[in-house]
């Protein structure tokens, strides 16, 4: 019989280019946000976080931007590498419980 699969939004970038992954969150009371990277067959790995009293935070090759007005979060990866290929999830939390978004699959073309 015919099977139906779920498809993640996919972002395909050239190696060396910058990547921008976007996420919309739903709860205006959320006060803490995290980006996770999940490689195939593994659990999510913490990348970077940001609190609601900030609008930008930088890590090594990654930057998270938070726009509370429109409830939007983005992850920027500089000089994307093949090892960055994975599914990226944003997560929001208020009162301790993490709520995850659906994820974006990043594919890096060599």
């Amino acid at each position: 019989g015919e099977s139906v699969g779920l498809h993640l939004p996919t972002l395909s970038v050239q190696e060396g280019d910058n990547s921008i992954i976007n996420c919309a969150y739903s709860n205006s009371a959320s006060d803490y946000f995290i980006w996770y990277k999940q490689e195939s067959g593994k659990g999510p790995q913490f990348i970077i976080d940001i609190r609601s009293n900030m609008d930008k935070r930088q890590g090594q090759r990654v930057t998270v931007l938070l726009n509370k007005t429109v409830k939007h979060l983005s992850l920027q990866i500089a000089a994307t590498q093949p090892g960055d290929s994975a599914v990226y999830f944003c997560a929001e939390t208020s009162q301790g419980n993490l709520i995850f978004g659906k994820g974006t699959k990043l594919s890096v073309k060599p």
């Binding site: 779920l6 803490y32 995290i34 593994k42 999510p44 913490f46 999830f89 419980n97 709520i99 659906k102």
Partner: protein
């Protein structure tokens, strides 16, 4: 460093069978969580615990039970397995806002 350890990694169950997914953490974290991840989706919270002896329902608790008799262990019990419980299960722990995940348990109910 062991971190968060889940067992088993893979399991096939028949409809109506019961089983327990084990989870242990060696970081002395108070908070522990069980998430399920369906194909192409983000993680959904099943149950969580803020400390030994305390458990609470998450977003999708039906069909599951948990216990937290010690700080280290947080087993997830499926009493009557159903095909809808075919998923990947992730245990996690945290001491604050950053959550550390196990490698996942792949469960198939047939």
């Amino acid at each position: 460093n062991a971190g968060v350890t889940q067992t088993p990694k893979f399991r096939i169950l028949k409809i109506g069978q019961s089983m327990t997914l084990q989870c242990a953490q060696d970081m002395n974290h108070n908070y522990m969580y069980w998430y399920r991840q369906d194909p192409g989706m983000g993680l959904k919270l099943i149950y969580y615990s803020v400390g030994a002896g305390i458990t609470d329902k998450g977003e999708v608790p039906n069909g599951y039970n948990v216990s937290r008799s010690t700080t280290e262990d947080f087993p997830l019990r499926l009493e009557l397995a159903a095909p809808s419980q075919t998923s990947v299960y992730f245990c996690a722990s945290s001491s604050g806002n950053t959550i550390y995940f196990g490698e996942g348990s792949w469960l198939t109910v047939v």
